[in-house]
Symmetry: D2
């Protein structure tokens, strides 16, 4: 039986989609618009059980998933969303055990996914020029139990990186071309690269930059996520959706010259 203890992470799920990710601490209290939840009252309960707030609202006590750590993490930057993570990973050759270079840790959202994918024998080397982002990312990684699979380096990667023979490289910074030579040198031949950018302009620049350096199988895309709402007899797409988060350009390194 999987029981909530002092120090456990709990995803508290209220009615209407309210979610809180918290660490249980003896004596602690969760204050919400639905009333108060005393931590002590749930210590010893099984994950999946429910309780009530001081105002009588039912709250479910769930084990946090990787998606919860990603979506409820400390956020200092735009993040890569879960809808894109799996596709990026398989498209650039990430597998369990891979060694991955990430340039632009940001808040560490994609870093968490990559770390969990390559764990426990692989490793992620992640560069972030701004210390406050790097610190937030590290806190997010620790909370998700993934810090041991990641080395965050607080440094601008455009000056070069130590890593060589990486299986895969991800670039998620404002000016991807500033590190494209660095990425090329760090990547093993036949390895995969992904460039993440919100604008068409950078897509165009990144594609040209990759082709120039001999990368092949260059493909750019975006994914969209559309919720479906359903009551018996009335099922329909949701009225509004997040329409655009980022474009992704992927490619593979060859030993060739480029064009």
């Amino acid at each position: 039986m999987d029981v909530i203890a002092d120090g456990s992470d709990v995803l508290v799920a209220g009615p209407r989609g309210n979610l809180w990710l918290m660490k249980v601490r003896s004596g602690g209290e969760l204050y919400t618009h639905l009333g108060v939840l005393k931590h002590d009252s749930i210590i010893g309960l099984e994950y999946g059980s429910s309780t009530e707030t001081s105002k009588g609202y039912r709250l479910y006590l769930m084990r946090p998933f990787l998606e919860d750590y990603i979506m409820k993490g400390e956020r200092r930057t735009q993040i890569v969303y879960p809808k894109d993570m799996g596709l990026i990973a398989v498209r650039i050759g990430v597998r369990s055990g891979s060694r991955v270079l990430e340039i632009g840790t940001g808040s560490g959202a994609l870093t968490m996914f990559l770390a969990d994918f390559v764990a426990p024998t692989g490793h992620v080397y992640s560069y972030e020029a701004r210390r406050e982002f790097a610190d937030a990312a590290l806190r997010n990684l620790r909370r998700a139990g993934l810090a041991e699979y990641v080395e965050v380096k607080v440094r601008d990667a455009s000056g070069g990186v130590e890593e060589r023979e990486m299986d895969s490289v991800v670039i998620d910074i404002g000016d991807p071309c500033s590190v494209m030579d660095v990425a090329h040198d760090a990547l093993r031949p036949s390895g995969g690269i992904a460039v993440i950018t919100p604008t068409y302009n950078q897509v165009e620049v990144a594609i040209a930059g990759l082709r120039t350096r001999g990368f092949i199988m260059v493909e750019a895309f975006e994914t969209t996520y559309r919720r479906v709402e359903s009551r018996p007899g009335a099922t329909r797409p949701a009225s509004t959706v997040i329409s655009h988060t980022a474009f992704i350009v992927t490619a593979r390194k060859t030993l060739g010259e480029g064009k």
Copy 2:
């Protein structure tokens, strides 16, 4: 240096997006509309290098990625596409080391992704009622080096499964409600479930079935993948796209009664 040997898998990439996934065998030949490639001629070459066909077309010799094994695998059924795999995994609590039950192996596409995600310490238990699908899935898993992380059981799961306390369950069969009680019993409290179906009708039925059994955080969605085409000065979305593959319904098990 990562060199192609007798027995190596090679993804051969031709011009205009042509791709062949092959196992190198001394004396073998790859016949294509671009001419012939003798296997012996590439043994000893480094991955990422290129060669020419008998007709003078340039072919690149790449290390296959997980996506190549998925997309070029033997296909006996509709498959789950890479665009959906990562989201399914993080949404239902799959992590490195997880134990996952899959009902409906099909051609094993999603199975491969799940196996690589949970590897090397986790495991996938996958049920497939039709032997020819199970056999194809196993061949695909072996080719991708993932068979050791998966147990494929050739049996209709609607009669019950041995697995208990699974971290996550995936249902990908025509009548998902026929195994929903089985899935519920196999899943640990607070575990995540995904139902994959092409039609709205089954989405509606699955959502009702999950709510009845006390699952919460029920969400249905689809993702779309849209390519971007780019030449310098002329970047635009691709003209046609694969618009629909499957709807996915995800939820989490509670100890509650349902409604």
Copy 3:
């Protein structure tokens, strides 16, 4: 020169996309969060010119377009959006001079478009069971100068309609099948029909109902509208969009039996 007079309609366009549609009345005032605009101060100005509010914000004084009357009209119901109107019209055979039956006037949004399309020699006959919707629709039509091309009948059309030999029929009510026989009888052979509904369930029912009655070229679809945001060097799709408004089913009447 096209000058604003007492009694003119003006679309007032403020910064950041604020829009007000107003009728100019001597002595009147427009109160906004950007300050006050005295109607008298703009009488005599040319359309396309600008003025300032009491707080110094610049407002442009524009001639209202059909889209403004549609989008800024009194709204008592879900409306059909401009993105769908033109496609519905050409798909069901509406042309200048056509006679169109509409079952379900609602707030009159689509009615306005159809009326403008068939004007001045065609006519729209529109049924609305609820008087408050019919009254709002009439007010909207009058404001847009289109009332003379439309007859709004405050009656439940499921009991039958007088119209015969209509070129085109639109059904936009909750239970489209309740008027499908009525619509069939009112439509001339080879005429076009559109059924508008938000749910997949009604799409399925409507398609079956149309096929049963011998309609052919049955097609169901939805359209989406996606904004693009652009600054020099940074062009990208908008982050969020209205993802779903309605499904539309179109078909054409034959003299055949159906199946």
Copy 4:
């Protein structure tokens, strides 16, 4: 009763979505992969009735709609699709009776829609630099009975146009900025403009060009069309869709200076 005569246009609808748009001529024959249809055999039949080919396939004899003339017209260029036409029209102030300038007739697809919308009291002035496109467009307009509402001028509009005080202007040529001053001068103050282009690059350029010239309410967008497939109990989005046809930028002219 609406009867097919010698000289009538007929849309012949076969099974599986086959469509032929033909003019009936005594003695004529329609050859298809489903067999032959003798024109004489359908003269005197009512629109909406059906007949059989020499091979026994059932064909329905339908009155052509505006969409049929658009989609089955002679096509020399990329066309604007019906999904975009209505939105363009209402967004730039086209109404029954409007005077519209079009720069870039192309194959005349959008021209047909605009002509039908403004008919019978309005007019479309359409410039096309290439005579073979202009001729094809005129043939399409005549076939659809719309030629009297359109003046096609075979001339490069970048040298200037005679038209002034147009209600609305559409630009659909490769280099929209080359005629933006011309368009501005031809448009009445507060009038609406649309620029149609397939690429993001031209969207960015057009938006900047419009803002520079004092246009306001600048909005760029694309629409998508997604079919739904339905059998009883199995309704789902179509697998593939036309994902991208064109971007559209719309705006309104002010008397202001621009920025």
